[in-house]
């Protein structure tokens, strides 16, 4: 049985004026234990909305339209928010956010934030001493000055220490599944490496074993993920193994995205960033045909009107009727 199943998931926002914005449309995928799925796309493509949906966390104005998410076979959709909070978040599915500085409550010490996480999921039976011992044990794994970091306010830590603290807090309850949303953006290259190494260290130690890694940096994904999905205007437009998607993209958008990445990858011919002309369509009025058609360099006459479904092309899924 797959660890994580997403079944035709669609999500929308309701604006103040009753307008419906379809942020995520018809996303499906399954993940086996130990799998690392990379999701890439431009900002505003629905990645972050998808994250909330995958955790079953619906804070107005975000609502599920249709579809299902199952963790270890259990659906998240028909559960109460209270149940999700207590029994799913941090325990089954956890999240490593980007920009760790702002993610940590500025007026709370690291150990107190971590203790809040434990206390929120154990019903408060655990004594303060036990919690602190548990924290110390876990943070000792991270190769930092445990005492200093635990007793510090976020402002007293370096960017790298903060990001590692966030990862430590997010994985404190050994979740089955971790969603990392651009965990390395806004960090310098050296710190990025440290953070990536830490994540993989935790994977190796079995603290968690399945991960979704979201980033806009495709070169990084190639090193990190087994499979990659490309998202555009709320839809998956291509999903395959990392080799397939990075080196042999078939969807015109993926191809354009590869071209637009300024990449130092050896073997990649073009180093010049190519920008994709135009902007994604408004999701308040979803076009009936291909959502990329207006910007697509190889679009045909009927692309704008003809519905596009994901189909197998060269061993991976592509949402383009003319890709081959």
């Amino acid at each position: 049985m797959p660890t994580f199943e997403v079944d035709h998931l669609s999500l929308h926002y309701l604006t103040r004026f009753g307008e419906k914005i379809q942020a995520v449309s018809d996303v499906s995928f399954t993940m086996e234990q130990g799998e690392i799925l990379g999701i890439a796309g431009e900002s505003g493509c629905g990645k972050s909305t998808l994250v909330n949906g995958l955790m079953g966390l619906f804070i107005p104005p975000l609502y599920p339209t249709s579809g299902d998410v199952r963790v270890g076979g259990e659906s998240l959709m028909k559960r109460t928010p209270q149940d999700i909070r207590k029994n799913v978040l941090s325990q089954k599915v956890s999240m490593i956010p980007q920009g760790a500085f702002n993610a940590l409550n500025p007026t709370r010490k690291i150990k107190d934030i971590a203790a809040d996480v434990i206390a929120s999921h154990t019903g408060g039976h655990t004594s303060k001493k036990d919690i602190e011992a548990r924290l110390r044990e876990r943070f000792d794994l991270f190769g930092m000055d445990t005492e200093r970091v635990l007793n510090a306010f976020p402002i007293q830590l370096t960017a790298g220490e903060r990001q590692r603290s966030v990862i430590g807090i997010s994985t404190l309850l050994n979740p089955q599944m971790v969603i990392a949303d651009e965990p390395t953006s806004a960090l310098d290259v050296t710190t990025q490496k440290v953070v990536i190494r830490m994540i993989f260290d935790l994977l190796e130690k079995g603290i968690f074993n399945t991960m979704i890694f979201i980033t806009h940096e495709l070169p990084l994904l190639r090193h990190v993920a087994n499979n990659i999905a490309i998202m555009y205007a709320g839809e998956f437009v291509e999903k395959g193994t990392n080799e397939q998607v990075v080196f042999d993209p078939r969807h015109p958008y993926t191809q354009a995205l590869m071209g637009s990445m300024l990449s130092a990858e050896p073997g990649q011919k073009s180093r010049k960033p190519v920008s994709i002309e135009g902007a994604p369509p408004s999701l308040a009025k979803v076009p009936p045909g291909c959502r990329f058609a207006a910007r697509c360099p190889v679009a045909r006459a009927d692309c704008k009107t003809q519905k596009q479904e994901l189909r197998m092309v060269a061993g991976r899924l592509v949402r383009c009727n003319y890709a081959e």
Binding site: N102, V117, S170
Partner: protein, 356 residues
């Protein structure tokens, strides 16, 4: 120096700044009343020099002039006189230094209106009333307003839709207008509560039950007329701060982690409260001013009434004494809030150290 004691450094730094502000306030307090055409010195000098027939009255006025350093004296303390027998006026600068010296000795001089009562004596009678009225009112108003504002921000929905316009209306009502309305409805029209004063007129202040009961009755209306408006204003501010904090990443992260709702509410309240606390420091002057006017509406025997009667009697030493005292209280309250914020918000102290 003091590098290893950031807290002490922070307190000293703030304290030094407030001392400077205090000096400026004293200067303003001295020079502003002397800007106008009818400045206090000339009025006093005019009175001292003319129309006083009896030797005793003249002596009284002259001792007064001497006390305030308004006239020149020689080494033995005798007043120097001009050719017409009138006392010689001393320069503004020497008056100023005399004034500063007196201030530092805690001496605000003698009341003009209630001679020979010292200004400090009159103020000392009024201050307990003002403290008893304003301290709890401002503190309760602040706390209640902030709790309600935070709840409105967090819950939104119906509570917010009813509460917000009400709080907005309350915060827009001027202190004095609301005070007058309360007095009219609750006291004059329906006679539920007393309208004027701090206690019934036939009682003598003292530690007895009747007096405290009467003072309690007289407390209710002024309390509510300050409290409700203050709470309304604070709630409005807290609501926007709370909504702002709700959108921050650390609240989102706490929700992603599945941290308990009441814990998140606590995060929200604490962090939104910090700017509100700064706001309190900045608006304290206005609040105290408003509350003083409320005292006047209720003829409450505090500082507000003292200022009012001093203004009506053109009792300049009294006016200046009261304004200086109000300024000093505001400065002390600000200093306290500043230090409190330094302890509550790790970012403030870190910023302070980075800044130096």
């Amino acid at each position: 120096m003091l590098k290893q004691y950031p807290t002490a450094r922070y307190i000293l730094h703030r304290g030094g700044w407030y001392f400077l502000t205090f000096l400026v306030a004293v200067t303003i307090n001295f020079f502003l009343p002397r800007l106008g055409a009818s400045n206090p010195v000339d009025i006093i000098m005019g009175k001292a020099g003319s129309g006083l027939d009896t030797e005793a009255a003249r002596e009284k006025e002259e001792s007064y002039l001497k006390e305030f350093g308004l006239v020149q004296v020689d080494a033995t303390g005798t007043i120097l006189r001009g050719p017409d027998g009138k006392p010689l006026k001393s320069s503004n600068v020497s008056q100023f230094f005399n004034y500063v010296k007196m201030c530092f000795q805690g001496d605000f001089g003698t009341s003009f209106q209630k001679y020979p009562k010292k200004v400090t004596t009159i103020i000392a009678e009024a201050v307990p009333w003002t403290l008893a009225l304003q301290l709890p009112t401002i503190m309760f108003g602040w706390i209640v307003g902030n709790v309600l504002g935070a709840l409105a921000a967090y819950r939104r929905g119906v509570f917010d839709r009813v509460f917000f316009p009400l709080a907005l209306l309350l915060s827009a009502v001027p202190f004095f207008a609301f005070g007058m309305l309360l007095v009219y409805v609750c006291a004059i029209k329906n006679g539920w509560l007393p309208a004027m004063g701090g206690y019934a007129g036939d009682l003598v202040p003292g530690f007895n039950f009747d007096f405290f009961k009467s003072a309690g009755y007289h407390y209710i209306l002024p309390f509510f007329s300050i409290f409700l408006i203050l709470a309304g204003g604070q709630a409005i501010g807290m609501r926007s701060m709370g909504i702002y904090e709700l959108g921050t990443d650390y609240i989102k992260y706490a929700k992603w982690l599945g941290i308990k709702e009441n814990k998140i509410l606590l995060y929200l309240f604490r962090n939104a409260m910090l700017p509100q606390l700064t706001g309190l420091a900045l608006s304290l002057g206005g609040m105290i001013g408003g509350a003083l006017i409320t005292e006047m509406i209720f003829s409450y025997p505090g500082l507000g009434m003292a200022i009012l009667s001093a203004i009506q009697g053109q009792d300049y030493p009294m006016i200046q004494g009261c304004t200086l005292l109000v300024t000093i209280s505001v400065l002390i309250a600000n200093f306290t809030v500043d230090i409190l914020i330094g302890f509550l918000d790790p970012r403030v102290k870190a910023g302070q150290m980075g800044g130096n």
